[in-house]
């Protein structure tokens, strides 16, 4: 199943949440501009230098070129470089350096023209089609399909035959031919934000469509358009030069393509004639492609941090004290402390952290200890960023790759899965347990079923692999499980695809999957959060009934005290990665000792007088925007 992938995403998400308050409250957030980030990137600055130099040479060509582009010195053909002709001359005695400069002018202008035409057609059409959809989109899709099915080169040849050898006409034609790439890019980008709530909010504010597109939608399209233009300009140069190379250009104009063709004819006599235009083209096109990449990097904020993280990680890895590695590679695992073997799961002083860019480790779970016995349900309660999911994932061994166990141990049924001193969860030990003895019920039922396979297939395959039963046997068991989890028509659900069943049904299927291999421990991560309240009640009933019948241990991660009261025997409350309080469900819910637990319980709406303030005091809040209302600095 896709569990592991999804859970990695989930935990990455909860990491993000954990990090948020910090970035939000620091107050000294520096946002560098895109330009500054571009200039900091060596690739960006190199490509910019190349392109600016070439552009400057092209503009200044009439001033700095020693000769006219077509000035021919018949007495000095195919000459080697000397002090007068610094790059030599071609077969007609024309100065290569001068022609290269004038050629740059024409080549760059034609690339700009081509990109300009393509943008002028593709961008507005894409914006309109993406934003309004409907008939315009349908028609323009047809036009685009026709344009894309045309053989470009043949069209260009035909146009050349009809209108004569003009660089400008062929580049306009090529711009039209290539405009679908802008159209598609724009339309897709617009479609992805068209239904965003902030666009709806702008509509409610009464903004005209034009202002909405300009303010809220164009900003999404801008970056990809710039990147695309860098690529398109490169393609335009290549195509234009290709046409010239074939001899279809204007023979009176110097372009890189014509020079390439000239050099090709004389390749045995003067190979350097081929070198110069080829070099100019390679530099220009390469510069454009690199610039595109650099702009993309500069626009994507996160990219940088990720790279640095990786590097920091690599150094951290190399500086990890040797003993830790030695311990990890050791074959035999230390025995657990005597007298604790009977606990199904025991977590001792667990710490989980993520290496940061500056080399420090950000702890998301810190010094957490608890245990779960057979036939017992432990609830882990906390708000987002409290580390409750990270704790659950470290028991499952599904932490993201860059996560580190920074302290403590985890033992399952008398054996360590994380021995004291390990800095990673041992996948070797856990992969034998996961799915067989430890199973997992995720939060989002729909995203944890693969839409490409039937529900039956997704239930049968793990059983065949893990239990080693035959397919027919597994099918029988799957149908029985589906009946057990309260599905009225198991046969039909078995043959259905995930999108054909409701969210509550999908969660029942996942619960069936979780108990299919008769586990000892089930870890349920917010198993009812995505469900309707009435469905939640049914799923809770199901979980309780199965847990009692199979006598399994359950770790239930949730933020809902109602769910805790409904299911759990014991509760652990977490805040900012630490375990605040642990006890039986009655103790914690009725007489919480810690102020944090008391605050959480006070925030519950059940039993409160409607229309009264919950946490802020009415008196102080009356003075508009009082301090009592301000979000506490976490």
């Amino acid at each position: 199943m896709s569990d592991s992938v999804d859970s990695a995403a989930v935990s990455a998400d909860s990491m993000g949440l954990a990090a948020k308050p910090e970035s939000g409250q620091s107050g000294t957030v520096v946002r560098s501009t895109v330009m500054r980030r571009l200039l900091k990137n060596p690739m960006g600055i190199a490509s910019l230098v190349i392109l600016v130099t070439i552009a400057a040479l092209a503009i200044l060509a009439p001033l700095i070129a020693p000769f006219e582009e077509n000035f021919a010195n018949i007495s000095k053909t195919l000459a080697a470089p000397d002090s007068v002709n610094i790059m030599g001359t071609d077969s007609a005695g024309r100065d290569t350096w001068s022609r290269l400069l004038f050629g740059a002018q024409l080549t760059l202008l034609s690339a700009l023209l081509c990109a300009g035409v393509a943008i002028a057609i593709g961008l507005p059409a894409g914006l309109i089609a993406g934003y309004y959809a409907g008939k315009f989109e349908a028609v323009s899709n047809w036009v685009v399909s026709i344009l894309m099915s045309l053989p470009g080169l043949i069209v260009l040849l035909t146009i050349r035959a009809a209108f004569g050898p003009s660089v400008w006409i062929s580049m306009i034609a090529f711009g039209v031919l290539i405009s679908p790439s802008y159209f598609r890019l724009t339309r897709t980008a617009v479609q992805s934000v068209r239904n965003e709530l902030y666009v709806d909010a702008a509509r409610v504010s009464g903004l005209s469509d034009l202002s909405i597109i300009a303010r809220h939608i164009f900003s999404v399209v801008r970056a990809p358009i710039i990147i695309q233009t860098a690529a398109i300009a490169g393609v335009a140069i290549a195509i234009q030069s290709g046409l010239e190379f074939l001899g279809l250009g204007d023979p009176t104009k110097a372009t890189w393509g014509v020079m390439l063709s000239e050099g090709f004819k004389n390749v045995y006599l003067t190979p350097t004639l081929l070198l110069w235009p080829a070099l100019a083209m390679a530099l220009t096109i390469g510069g454009l492609v690199l610039l595109g990449n650099a702009i993309r990097d500069a626009l994507e904020d996160g990219e940088k941090i990720k790279h640095r993280k990786k590097r920091a990680l690599a150094t951290a890895e190399s500086t990890t004290p040797a003993p830790a590695k030695a311990r990890q590679s050791r074959k035999s695992v230390a025995a657990v402390d005597a007298g604790t073997e009977h606990h199904l799961v025991k977590v001792t002083n667990l710490g989980v952290g993520y290496p940061q860019a500056d080399g420090s480790i950000k702890k998301v779970v810190d010094d957490v200890s608890f245990h779960v016995d057979r036939g017992e349900i432990l609830g882990i309660v906390g708000e987002s960023g409290s580390g409750k999911s990270q704790t659950a994932f470290s028991i499952l061994g599904l932490l993201p790759d860059n996560a580190r166990i920074v302290g403590g141990s985890i033992q399952f049924d008398g054996n360590y899965t994380v021995a004291p001193g390990d800095d990673r969860v041992s996948q070797e030990r856990l992969s034998k347990l996961r799915g067989k003895r430890i199973s997992y019920i995720p939060q989002e039922p729909m995203s944890n079923l693969d839409p490409a396979f039937t529900i039956g297939y997704q239930l049968v395959t793990p059983m065949v692999r893990v239990l080693g039963v035959s397919k027919a046997e597994a099918r029988q068991r799957a149908l029985k499980l589906l009946t057990d989890v309260g599905i009225a028509n198991p046969e039909r659900t078995f043959n259905a695809y995930p999108h054909e069943v409701s969210g509550g049904m999908a969660q029942r299927v996942l619960i069936a999957g979780a108990i299919s291999c008769e586990p000892d421990l089930v870890i349920a991560d917010e198993p009812t959060t995505a469900l309707d309240v009435t469905v939640q009640a049914d799923v809770l009933d199901l979980l309780r009934e199965l847990q009692q019948r199979l006598n399994i241990g359950v770790i239930l991660v949730t933020h809902n005290f109602g769910v805790v009261a409904d299911l759990c025997d014991r509760v652990a409350v977490m805040q900012n990665g630490r375990l605040v309080e642990e006890g039986t469900v009655r103790e914690i819910l009725r007489n919480p000792k810690e102020p944090y637990t008391q605050t959480l319980l006070r925030s519950m709406l059940e039993g409160k007088t409607p229309m009264t303030m919950l946490v802020s005091k009415a008196g102080s809040a009356a003075q508009s925007g009082s301090a009592a209302q301000k979000e506490p600095v976490a």
């Binding site: 948020k20 970035s23 939000g24 107050g27 957030v29 946002r31 709530l197 902030y198 709806d200 909010a201 509509r203 409610v204 504010s205 009464g206 903004l207 005209s208 202002s211 303010r215 900003s219 708000e383 987002s384 309707d532 309240v533 009435t534 469905v535 939640q536 009640a537 009933d541 809902n560 005290f561 109602g562 769910v563 805790v564 009261a565 409904d566 469900v585 819910l589 605050t599 959480l600 319980l601 925030s603 519950m604 709406l605 059940e606 039993g607 409160k608 409607p610 229309m611 303030m613 919950l614 946490v615 802020s616 809040a621 009356a622 508009s624 925007g625 009082s626 209302q629 301000k630 979000e631």
Partner: protein, 295 residues
């Protein structure tokens, strides 16, 4: 309670009459999908109508129809005596002074590319307010929702979920509207954050006399904040009345199920509620069977 009594004597701020919303089907000549059937609600000045129902019940669609974001197939949406069910964009612009929205997801309801100050100034600019005056108003708004003034030059991603929801509330308040449609505004928030944001909604109503159409799937939230409650089920309103009555002693079988399905934070009372729920389900089951037999 007094607010709702006053409002029932005057003509209501918003009244929705026999509203039907249908979405055209994607398939050729197929029957359109009916999202709302024959909806009738009213909201008075300074009153909160809570709208509760499960996912797909049409509660969000009703909010969107009032805002002009969902197509009105039949019926009327009357705001301050004018039918706004098919208002043009220009009429909407005038209307936006009085009718605003707070969406569920504080992560996608704010444009990530705009600074908080620009987001808050947008509705002010549409109404033609000068930039200097708009800036002053933005500061007032931030103060009103309990955010620091230096938030103006920050981007949405620098804020937590609760703080973003405060920004979204500030944007809705910018033009001092008479009615705010709140579409699950606290569902994405943590428990303690939810409590603070609910306090904020109540405080704002006390200070400004604004009315709310408060959409939520959570009966506890709706009970806490509403004067009256309407329960939606399969695109229809199945029950409507004073919050105390609907959320404590409901008549419709669905509302009864909903009430007993929401768990209470005490193991023994929850066990009691669970037993009550099972009894109710068994009763309702046998009733439908009897009805089936009679029919």
């Amino acid at each position: 309670m007094s607010a709702s009594l006053d409002s029932s004597q005057k003509s209501p701020l918003l009244s929705v009459e026999n509203l039907v919303v249908e979405y055209p089907s994607k398939r050729f000549r197929a029957k359109p999908f009916r999202a709302l059937t024959d909806i009738n609600i009213t909201i008075g000045q300074g009153e909160t109508l809570g709208l509760v129902g499960e996912s797909g019940s049409g509660k969000t669609t009703l909010g969107r129809a009032v805002l002009g974001l969902a197509p009105v197939t039949a019926g009327k949406v009357i705001f301050e005596g004018n039918d706004i069910s098919n208002a043009s964009r220009k009429e909407r612009r005038t209307l936006s002074r009085d009718l605003q929205v707070v969406f569920q997801d504080p992560y996608t309801s704010l444009n990530p590319a705009l600074e908080i100050g620009d987001i808050l100034a947008e509705p002010l600019g549409v109404q033609g307010m000068a930039p200097a005056a708009a800036k002053k108003r933005v500061k007032e708004l931030l103060d009103q929702v309990g955010l620091p003034t230096d938030a103006i030059h920050r981007l949405p991603r620098e804020f937590s979920g609760g703080q973003r929801q405060r920004v979204a509330i500030a944007r809705a308040l910018a033009l001092s509207p008479k009615l705010i449609v709140c579409d699950e505004p606290v569902s994405a928030l943590d428990l303690s954050t939810q409590a603070r944001v609910l306090d904020l909604f109540l405080q704002i109503q006390k200070d400004t006399g604004v009315s709310y159409l408060f959409v939520s799937h959570d009966l506890d939230v709706v009970r806490h904040i509403s004067h009256r409650v309407a329960v939606m089920y399969h695109g229809e309103i199945v029950e409507q009345g004073p919050a105390e009555v609907v959320t404590r002693d409901p008549e419709h079988p669905y509302t009864q199920r909903l009430l007993l399905a929401s768990p209470v934070p005490d193991p023994d009372r929850q066990e009691q509620r669970r037993a009550d729920r099972h009894r109710l389900l068994a009763n309702q089951h046998s009733q439908t069977e009897q009805q089936g037999a009679v029919a």
